[in-house]
Each structure stands twice: as structure tokens, then as C-alpha cells.
Amino acid sequence: MSTAARSTWLHDLVRKPFFWGVVAIIALLLLNVMKDPTYLAISVNPDNGNLVGNLVDILRASAPILMIAVGMSLVIATGGIDLSVGSVMAVSGAVAMVFMKDAGQSGSLGVALGAIGLALAVSAVLGVVNGVLVAYIGLQPFISTLIMMLAGRGIAKVITEGQNTSATNDPFRWLANGFVVGLPVVFLLALAIVGLVGLVVRRSALGLMIEAIGINPKASRMAGIRPSGLLLTVYVLSAVLAGIAGIMSVGTVMTVDVSRTGYQMELDAILAVVIGGTSLSGGKFSIGGAVVGALLIATLDKTVVFLGVSSSATPAFKAIVIVVLCLLQSDRVRGWFVQRRKPPKERPVPNAVAAREEVSA
């Protein structure tokens, strides 16, 4: 009895969408430990009590990816996609930097808040454009956000007049580089935002409604959901989260490089969502999965640098992972696995397993 219960528990764990993401993170960390046994060591900086170590760096690097991954997972759940997150990051970073530069380099908190507010407002406007095009005009999501992806970078260049723009502002810098109770502020902030979004969508019917749109927009309207308003909200939320990610990523160096900031970040966002076990065809999302996916990508980026592999290879590698995961999600490949697994079919509760399989398919 106890062994049976344990095996179902193990079975459930393996079937969790983000199980393999966690396994991959552990594998990558082990790889690093093999190269340098002290990789996981975390020490306390005696001067200010901050934690120092590679793991802390990974957490810090994962913050912007967390933001866009959560936004992207909601957009993908509605059956859409947001290709503009990277460009929105650049626009948001550009707005913040130019605002602080024009404010005369004064390091006041008010200027930092103004910069953040303005950057998020501009991001929200871009999100509104995306959302209106998708929800009210009915354009395919990838076309409207593709236009925004390419035009957005142009907008960022116009804002900064094509120059890399730097500014100095201590409160803004603290946001990206500071520590609270020994942990990086940026990671705690990201966790808080993810927690808030997760709470709102999962503790209310909002998440269910978003998934309903992704499964069948017509049926969801019949069921009394207004898809247009909800779609608009999701795209605006995704853009605002991307705006926060932009602020985080320019804050670390206090410079915006319009052609590098957020470049190919849509790849990371999509990858994080797919690793989290969310199907790209919509109708389902897992915030926890997106978090695991974002952490895995941050770990991967750091590992590549740590192992001394040329970092220009990572996008190609990530693209291959996306292709493989897409293949694993397709019915055809699943069919191969089901056929192979069928013969030794002796499971504790066949009905429950069958039902679960149906749901996940």
C-alpha cells in the first residue's frame, strides 16, 4: 500500500509540467560544480551583510526573464503570442534613461519614480496598441506584435536619437543592484510581482476565463465572457511586465543600448513558457512553470559564460530546444511514445490516469 502510494506520488511529480525544467536546472548546476566544486558556495559580505555567490547572480539575472515569461504565458494561454516584449523592454529602458538624463543627473527618488512611471506608461500604451489590434480589430496576434517588435526598436532609437544613453540615479540603480535582507532587490521585486499576478489570476476566475478564450473564443463568449476586454488586459499586462523587465535590465548598467537591450528576449520568454509545460496552442498556463523556465534560462546563460563557451552559440541552442519541445508537444510524437509505453500497462488507478491523460492532451 505504502509503495503504491509512493509510486503515484512519484508519478505525479514526474508528470508535473515543470518537472523536467527542475531536473535540467539541477543538471546544469551539477555541471558547474564539476568544473568548480565551490560553485554553489554562498558567502556573506562582511561589510553590508549581503549574500554573494553564483546562485545569487543567477537569481538576479532571472528577474527580467521572470517578468516577460509570466506576461508571455498569459498571452499564450489566450491562444496568442507577444513578439514585442524585447522591443518594449528597449523602449521602456530608453524612456527611463532619457528622462533621468534630461532631469539633470540629480539622484533624487522623485526623478527615479518619474522615470519608472513614464516608462511603464509608455509600455502600457504599446500594449494597448497590441491589444486593440488583436482584440477589437481581429488581427492575428503574431502580425500585430511583429510590427510592434520591429517598429518598437525604431521607436527606442528615435527616443534616444540612436545613441546609447546613460544616466546616474542612485535610487534607480538600487532597484537593480541593491540588496534587502541579503537578497537582490530585483529578484524579490520580481517574485512579489509574479506572486501578485499569480494570486490574481488563480484566486479569481480571471485565469479560468483567460484559458477559456484560448480553448475556444466563441464558446467562451457564449458562456458570458467578454473576450475583447480580457484580451486587451492581457496584452497590456504583458507590455507593462516587459516594461518592468526593461527597467530592471537597464538599471544594472544604467545605460540603454537600443540595439542590444532586450534583443531576442522574446526567444527567452517563449522558451521559458514552453519549458514550463505550457502548450503553444493556448488554453492552458502555469505560472509556476514559467518561473521554473525563467530560472532555467538564467542558469543556462550563466553556465554558458562560466564554462567559457562562446555565448553567441546560446540563441541557436535555445532555438533547438524550442523545436524539440514543440515536437514533444505534437500529437504525432506523443503517439510514438504511447505506443511504446502501452504494453507494460499496469497502473494503480487506470481510470484516473486515463482521465488525466485526456486532460493533458
Partner: protein
Amino acid sequence: MTALQSPRLEPQVEASPHSRLWERVKRVVASNPSVLPTAAAIVIFIGMVIYGEVAYGRIVQYNTLSNLLINNAHLIILAVAMTFVILTGGIDLSVGSVIALSSVAGVMLSNAGWNPWVVIVLMILIGTAFGLASGILIQYFNVQPFIATLAMMFLGRGLASLLSTRPERLADDSPILWLGEQLKVIDGEKVNDVVITPGVIIAVLVVIVAFFVLHRTRTGRTVYAIGGSESSSSLMGLAVPRTKVLVYVISGTLAGVSAVVYTSRLGIAQNITGIGWELDAIAATVIGGTLLTGGYGYVLGSVVGALVLGLMNVLITRDGGIPPEMTTIITGGILLVFVLLQRLVLMRRRT
């Protein structure tokens, strides 16, 4: 209804031949609303030429128009390729990075002493391989077209960056450069000559072959049928799976050809070549009247669309007041306007 009524109205307006022509145009548009965007593209092109001639001068002359063709030969090829894909209701976002990978690989191989003809064939085959991969993913593994080609886009860009992140220069005596060599056809006064390059000839050949395939062969009809309704066409017994894969193979292969034409003109390849060209190709196709949802469109329209974008670049350069960073914003804006126009036409047709 309007088509039935118009003959009765015609005697009243027969007075002026001008308005009779207008009436005829109106009837053609009314009977087939999908020509409206193509007609709009032609009108816009002519309007831009006139505006450019009046505002900046030196537009309607041999060398400007030849340069327009020479500088946009690669875009014309891409637009033709994209037309095939969009006609089936799909999309290919990978063309820009396929060009980057293909041209960087080509230049490096050529500089490593490979036979230039082998290099050219390899450059085209790189595109074919990417197209085949996207096509198989889309057709046999049910991956959405934009996801599959987006993955290919990142893969191509990543592989190109892996090969080199510096600008790779083709050796000055490389035979590949011959494809970009300017040949005088008509010798005008001073520099006002009609000039073409072998690259332009390749582009024209691609357009002719594509026109023939799309409008005169069974494969072409199948492409249109898939865009109209994929399930109906497979119920009709058309070769849907084969054609869908073929469409992406065509797109990838032509991206390879486009890489050859572009590299031969510039003599330089870099891993950031072709960022945003998928937008240009989609915009050219959509401006030329191809419906993004598939099923309606014209190859020649896409050529006009590519020329509109090329002329826009010329005008922006001539104007000098518009920062070059605005180009992508303007392209995006134009694409948006045309997509909205399509929605309008579609909505009107349904009611």
C-alpha cells in the same frame, strides 16, 4: 446587385469618356474586392513617383529607376517567396536570418578557397534546408507556422553569430561579385544610364517562374486552394501535405537565392544582415494585395509592393529630414494600414 444596376446607369454618364472609365474600374472592383489593395499599391507607387519628382526631382530618370531595381532585387525575390507562403495562409519569419546565415557561410567558404559555383549552390541549399525543416515541422508535427519559422529565425541568427560576428568581406576578385556587376544597357548622358546587374535578371526570372507556377500550374492552384480552405482542398483530393511543405521549401530556397544576390551586390556579409527583412517581405506582399489569411493574392502585386518600399527608402534618403531610424516605424505603419484595409474589404464582402 450593383453589377446588375450599373448597365442601366451607364447611359447617363456616357457623356464623358473619363467617367465611363471610372465606372468600369468601379465595376471591376465591386465584382472582385480583393483587387482593391493591389490597385491601391499601384496608385501609391505612381503617387510616390510623382511626389518624389515634384518635391525632390531626379526620380523619373534612368539611373534612379535602375538603382531602384538593383537595390531591391533581393527584396523582390523575398516578396515573391513570401507570397507563396502567405497564399496558403502561413507565414515565414525566418527569411531574414536565413539570409544572414547563408551569406556569412557563403563568404567564409568562398574566402577559404572553395569553388564559387559550389559556394553559390551551397548558399541556396542552406535556405532549402531551413525551408524543409520548417515545412516538416508545420505539416507533419502540427506546429503553428509562426512558431516553427520563429524558431528557425532564432536558429539561423544564432548559427550565423556562431560562424562570425564581424563583417566578412568577399575577396575583391571573387567571381561571386560578378553577379552584382553593373552592366550598361542604354548609355544615357553623364551617369543617366539604364543599368542592370545579373542579380536583377535573376530577380526577374524568379518573378516570371513564380508567376507561371502560381497562375498556370496545378501546384499553383493547390496553393490558392489551401489558402481558401485547407480541409476542403484535402477533401477534393489535392496534394495538400506535399504542397504545404513545398511552399516553405520554395520560401527557404528563394531566401538562399536572395542571399546570393544581396551578397554579390554588397560584397560583405555579417551576422546582423537582414534583421527585420521578414517585415519588409511581409509588408511588400501585403501591400501588393495578398490576403494575410491566404487564398487571394498576386505575384506581380508583391513586386509592386517591394518597389513601393524601395522607393520609400529612396524618398526618405532624399528628404534627409526623416531620421533613418524611422524607416522601420513607417514600414510597420504602412503594413498596418494595409492589413486594416484588408479587414475592411473582408468585412464588406461578408455582409
